[in-house]
Symmetry: C2
Subunit: 525 residues, 2 copies
């Protein structure tokens, strides 16, 4: 029995060019269910249905869309056990607290936050210029393709996660492309979403699901004229191919590709609370077996006794800590290869690097070091992302070399700076922050990068190649909705014909609008 795809509101046999199975990374065994690899015909049918759904959604307006999101969130919570069971089998992520108590409530919470923003319209930056007779806001862009990653089967899932929530809340239907490592989990979500669509009388094609396509069909999908935009989270190589295709067609594509998330440890921080920092680093670096987009992959410090001690402690703790299970055989292969590459570039392996007990996807917790000079000799090589439970500590001779290393970094999602709580590092902080800030989407102080709060002030984004555009965030409402929207001005448009968000009367009484330069929740005039 091969699973059915969800196209145009029905679960139907795929027009299949092959099948695949997921693997249980805790046992290395293939899971029983077969999933289809769709041909272009499936994509084409999904695009047609999505285009029709997009038209219907434009007529419905925000309230029923918000209800759909809330209904879906309720259903996810009600189906918690089945979702956790499926995701645990497919990803090896612990059932509790990770899946059941962390990721699942985050997922339903994101959907509800998106619903609130959808209903309020606060995301659309409604702007009214009464003197010029012009009004503008952001509006839905059209069908959104979502390619979800392997590491968050719920919260970044292609039909459940942040991109899905943002795309729907902005008024667009979603065509989900499941991550091949957890197709059954994604299928369960799509069932719940379809049930929510039925219950709230939404177009059934508000959510569609295919599991996998050939590369060429994926590229064709994101560049199709019927598509509004694409959200992609995954490997840099696959993402860049999709980006090239979408860019050539003028279709926005938002990518979250890779990031080593530099953590700078200034001497005063290590002196004041080195032991705590070891604890914090350990937790952050090995959390989820290091498979977080914001995993601290590179630590930057200045040579000295405190740094030696930090390295020694981390080495011991990495060696002593149990090696978690990786998400899939592919992740294990890629991690081993990245660690090998770093060694080939000259990094020194302090601990780990090898197998743990057989029978599951895993690698020993791995710590490498390199000098600042080595890093500066091949910045690109030393920024190879080792996705998983491996980190590289780069030791610079002095502050100037540290700053040079930072200046040689690519774009990253995050950059952390630990400094003396008493202010002893303040001059160094200024130099370091000046170099680091332009390179990252989020600057942190005295705090590790994992843990991406769903906040209006969050930027889960950053300069290329961390993402495809430095101006957008993938997490946080209302900002994340703007990725899936077009700006539209209404110039001299008669009052009865304006979007409700731009009418004289504030549609909710609480929606913030910029009227003649002033943000207000009031009416015009």
């Amino acid at each position: 029995m091969t699973a059915k795809v969800l196209i145009a509101g029905s679960w139907r046999d795929a027009d299949s060019v092959g099948t695949f199975q997921a693997t249980n990374p805790n046992t290395n065994e293939k899971l029983a269910a077969d999933f289809p690899i769709s041909s272009w015909a499936d994509c084409d049918a999904a695009l047609d249905a999505a285009q029709q759904a997009a038209r219907e959604m434009r007529k419905l307006g925000p309230e029923p869309i918000a209800k759909f999101l809330e209904c879906y969130a309720d259903k996810i919570e009600a189906a918690k056990d089945a979702l956790v069971e499926a995701a645990h089998a497919e990803t090896g992520l612990p059932k509790s607290p990770r899946l059941a108590d962390g990721e699942l409530p985050r997922t339903s919470g994101q959907l509800r936050a998106a619903a609130t923003s959808c209903r309020s319209g606060d995301w659309a930056l409604a702007t009214i210029d009464t003197a010029a007779g012009i009004r503008s806001c952001y509006e839905p862009l059209g069908p959104v393709c979502v390619f979800g990653p392997n590491n968050f089967p719920f919260a970044f899932g292609s039909v459940s996660g942040g991109d899905f929530a943002a795309a729907i809340a902005a008024g667009n239907p979603v065509i989900g492309k499941a991550n091949s490592s957890h197709p059954e989990t994604t299928r369960l979500f799509a069932e719940l979403a379809l049930a929510a669509a039925e219950e709230t009388a939404m177009p059934r094609a508000i959510v569609q699901l295919i599991y996998r396509t050939g590369h060429a069909d994926g590229e064709r999908l994101v560049s199709d004229p019927r598509v509004g935009a694409t959200g992609y989270t995954g490997s840099r190589s696959a993402g860049l191919k999709l980006k090239a295709a979408a860019d050539a067609a003028g279709k926005p594509i938002y990518l979250e590709l890779s990031s080593v998330n530099p953590v700078v440890l200034l001497p005063g921080a290590l002196a004041a609370r080195g032991t705590e920092i070891v604890d914090e680093f350990l937790t952050s670096a090995l959390m989820g077996t290091g498979q977080f987009c914001t995993n601290p992959g590179v630590v930057l410090a200045i040579a000295g006794e405190q740094t030696d001690q930090f390295i020694e402690s981390v080495k011991e703790r990495f060696g002593a800590a149990p090696a978690g299970t990786l998400l899939s055989p592919a992740v294990a292969v890629s991690l081993k290869s990245s660690v090998q590459q770093l060694c080939d570039f000259g990094a020194k392996l302090l601990v780990g690097g090898g197998e743990v007990e057989a029978g599951r996807c895993a690698m020993a917790n791995t710590l490498l070091t390199a000098s600042g000079k080595q890093f500066l000799g091949d910045p690109e090589g030393f920024q190879t992302e080792a996705f998983g439970n491996a980190s590289l500590i780069v030791v610079a001779d002095d502050l100037d070399e540290l700053c040079n290393v930072i200046a040689s970094l690519e774009g990253n999602l995050t950059g952390c700076i630990y400094s003396d709580p008493a202010g002893g590092d303040d001059a160094a902080y200024e130099q370091v922050a000046f170099e680091l800030t332009p390179k990252v989407g989020r600057v942190l102080n005295d705090k590790m990068p994992t843990g991406v709060a769903v906040s209006a002030a969050m930027n889960h984004g950053g300069p290329f190649p961390a993402t495809g555009h430095p101006g957008f965030t993938a997490v946080g409402v209302p900002g994340s909705l703007l990725r899936f929207a077009k700006l539209t001005s209404f110039d001299n448009v008669r009052p009865g014909r304006l979007p409700v968000l731009l009418a004289d009367k504030n549609p909710t009484g609480t929606t913030p609008r910029r009227i003649d330069g002033v943000w207000t929740t009031g009416d015009v005039g």
Copy 2:
């Protein structure tokens, strides 16, 4: 004597691979001044200097940058006569009112509006989440390359126009690439900008100017690691090449490429005020000899007596109106070729199409018609932009065919709908607007598209291929600044280290900030 380029704060001999001269389109004679075609060495030197200037500007903060913009605006007004003289010689645009009384005050006004936004920080969407301890805002992105168009030597000029003003106000230095049709005008602006930089103690490389490069060097420039982003206004073919290069490097590029700006005339509008609409159309279509980005290139109407009469009147008036001068020999060649293409596709030439008196760049005012069926048979062909004083009227059999024609349109900057003032067309309006709105950046009622107000609610943008991204506007403050900025979150960052915009105290007392979900000009707490 070959003109010097402005690099790293000095006027110096270009590292030149050739020279070119502009042409006076009113006489078809080459102008005396020689301008250099720069090699990569000039671009490279400009990039180094821009990178350094960007670092200095980040340290300066908004106040001196605002002062620079205001000082530059003053100098532009003081140099009005020379600027108008140069631009008239190079573009053939009338000295008055167009250049002296229209475009020049618009240009200085844009610079002052950008200064106001820079000082206020209202563009940066400062967001503070006190509970999560996260604060975010938009920050400068790095050096911006600006490629200005031929048709607005002041207001969209590479070192004077909207992109320049927005890039600088967002805190970035600009490398201007002059439009080859008005290099002397651009040189004069760069002199004024440099003088303003000196007077306000800004880094001298805040503005740099090269006149022309080879295509490969242009592509290398926009994709260089030292570049933050690029603004380009010009032809679709050159723009798409730059886009491909910038996209591949992950560098934002904002393009304004081409647009036929459909104008829909519903029957009730023609019945109620057909004569006025002829007047309005004539003014808009022939203004600036039709060389506006928002020129109404395609009129869409439904077959009937009123439409016939409209066409007849426009034909007469086009025939009777003097043919303006085109911007350059290249524009004249391209216009003739586009009109010929439209005829080849089957459009009927009603008037014009041929030469006027010799000795200047011009073509007779040109009107073509086609049926809705013809248009639907080759939508791409019939959307060939005829940049200049030519328009195409498409006559659909009925409302359904009209809507099909609209549904077949590419992305455009604007879409106008004229309808019965008494409401007789309201049902048709709803159908037409539903199809048209997703295709355009700005919807207008009962008004022609030319005249792009500098308003916070303006969107001078639209879906591809009108621009490169549907979420951004090239005109209007504060929105246009966001193109040249990166979003940055500050997570747990110590109070004294935050950007002033994100400090507890509102930096100006009037800057709007979103604090815990509410837009306010107050302080935190």
